[in-house]
């Protein structure tokens, strides 16, 4: 019983881990990009489950990138240590920002987090001695000397780690706390949920994951710059993925990430300069016409057909 329940997960993990055996370097590179964005999409959704719309993914991603690269270049630690440092820096900054901004909700939180990427970029640009200013900094060598198979496994580990954290959120009291805050904050408070504490906690954890993703990405591509590391793509793509797949669950953003990740490669080849337009359009269309996303719609459809069949 137990075995069959976990079988799909085991199979999926095995398939993902063995992917390099039957793919070339090109597909591995595609998968690396896809998994990074998938990680961001999932972390964004984990915050959304508390009813808070954060636009800070690009900001914390870039912050983690810079923290990881600067520690690596200036102190000379192991790349993994520097990536972890990127996560810690992003998490701590999110904690401080959250303590201030999570006292208000809705648009105040959303827009303040939207401003973060620009703010971090300005601050980093203004310490050119350390950060290289507008030029940014380059690594002498990328991680694993650019071996795509090893890089793929590293990024896969990051994505799996995020999926595990997300499932921990889904299977413990955290899910009930976040859902109650999203559904009705007054009820949550009156039922004993320390709303502020949970919100700051989730904001810090999800931002730390974005920082880890940034640190990993920076090591994979070997550079940081204000333009590149804080690019709006690191906000736009994850949002489109999570919304398309379906929010408020682990598997929605994962499915959305896989679908859009594959699609984005195709689009990049078809319309090299404007493929990002499609993501914006996906956000608009899904928000208006498919608020449950693919997974939510499938789930609702399954439930409906199931219930009617049960009634007959």
């Amino acid at each position: 019983m137990r075995m069959t329940r976990y079988l799909p997960y085991v199979l999926g993990a095995a398939l993902a881990a063995l992917f390099p055996l039957f793919s070339g370097a090109y597909l591995e590179q595609v998968a690396v990009g896809m998994l990074i964005y998938l990680t961001l999409a999932l972390s964004w959704d984990m915050l959304l489950r508390s009813g808070q719309l954060g636009f800070g993914t690009a900001g914390f991603f870039g912050l983690g990138s810079y923290a990881a690269i600067l520690l690596f270049l200036n102190v000379g630690v192991h790349p993994f240590v520097s990536i972890a440092f990127g996560g810690v820096v992003a998490g701590v900054v999110a904690l401080l920002v959250g303590l201030a901004v999570l006292r208000l909700r809705g648009m105040y939180f959303a827009i303040t987090t939207l401003a973060l990427a620009g703010i971090f970029a300005v601050v980093l640009r203004n310490f050119p001695g350390l950060t290289g200013g507008s030029e940014g900094r380059m690594l002498p060598n990328c991680i694993y000397a650019g071996n795509t198979t090893k890089i793929y496994w590293l990024v896969l580990a990051l994505a799996v780690f995020t999926i595990v954290i997300s499932e921990v959120f889904e299977r413990t009291r955290i899910r009930l706390a976040l859902t109650s805050i999203r559904n009705d904050e007054r009820v949550a408070k009156s039922s004993g949920v320390n709303v502020f504490k949970y919100l700051v906690f989730v904001f810090a954890v999800t931002s730390a994951i974005q920082g880890l993703a940034g640190g990993t990405y920076a090591h994979v591509f070997g550079f940081v710059s204000p333009e590149g590391s804080f690019s709006a793509n690191f906000l736009l793509l994850p949002l489109a993925m999570a919304l398309l797949g379906g929010v408020h669950s682990t598997w929605g953003p994962v499915v959305g990430g896989l679908v859009l990740g594959a699609l984005s490669e195709y689009l990049k080849l078809q319309i090299p300069y404007g493929h990002l337009l499609v993501y914006g359009a996906i956000i608009v269309v899904v928000t208006l016409f498919l608020p449950q996303g693919l997974m939510g719609t499938v789930r609702a459809w399954w439930r409906r057909s199931h219930v009617t069949r049960g009634a007959q």
């Binding site: 009291r173 109650s180 999203r182 559904n183 009820v187 408070k189 009156s190 039922s191 320390n194």
Partner: protein
Amino acid sequence: MAVLRTEALERRFGGLVAVHDLTFELAENEILGIIGPNGAGKTTAINAISGLYMPTAGRIFLGEEDITYSPPHVRCHLGIGRTFQLVHPLVDLTARENIMVGALFGQHRSLRQARKTAEEIAAQLGLERIDRSVSDLTVLEIKKLEIGRALASDPKVLFLDEVMAGLNSDETKAALDAVRGIRDQGVAICVVEHVMSVIRDLTDRVIVLDGGTIIAEGPYSKVSADPRVIAAYLGEEE
């Protein structure tokens, strides 16, 4: 010994005084009714006591403890439970999970304990379809659900804000029995209600609010004969 006590409680919104000079006690095992015309400050009083609004003056004691400025979740931990005037179920959770929220966060129980507590409370309240989504439940079931959620946090004092509104007479009877059952477990209960027969049948004592303050207090039979109350409330439309 009073379970809950307020002293000259006041809550203003800008220039508007919603509640003022509200002093009352709730004894152990008591069912207290709060009545008054619309806008008399009943719900504001509950919000101030449960912590959703901070009082602008006065004090609130739960037993010996001064909770005047405690945040709402702390008041819940200390033993204040409440329901809301219009039903506020947590729509993305099942019925069981709704009740579990109270058990998990009101008293720090484990998931397993909380699941069991939810089952016990549901059985006590006669809530059967516990694993259904909230959207499948009837009004009576949702009301029971909300009482159950408040109950799951082990309150010493339970505020019920118009739980009988919208129920038919059979359902009201079922709800009355449920409330009495809760009292028999040793919970002091404070009901805000518009349905006078409910107040008459259920309460040991009634306080009447008008214009944010108490204008009469005593058993229902005495209060309902008070000319000031009749003028303020019963004469209005009832």
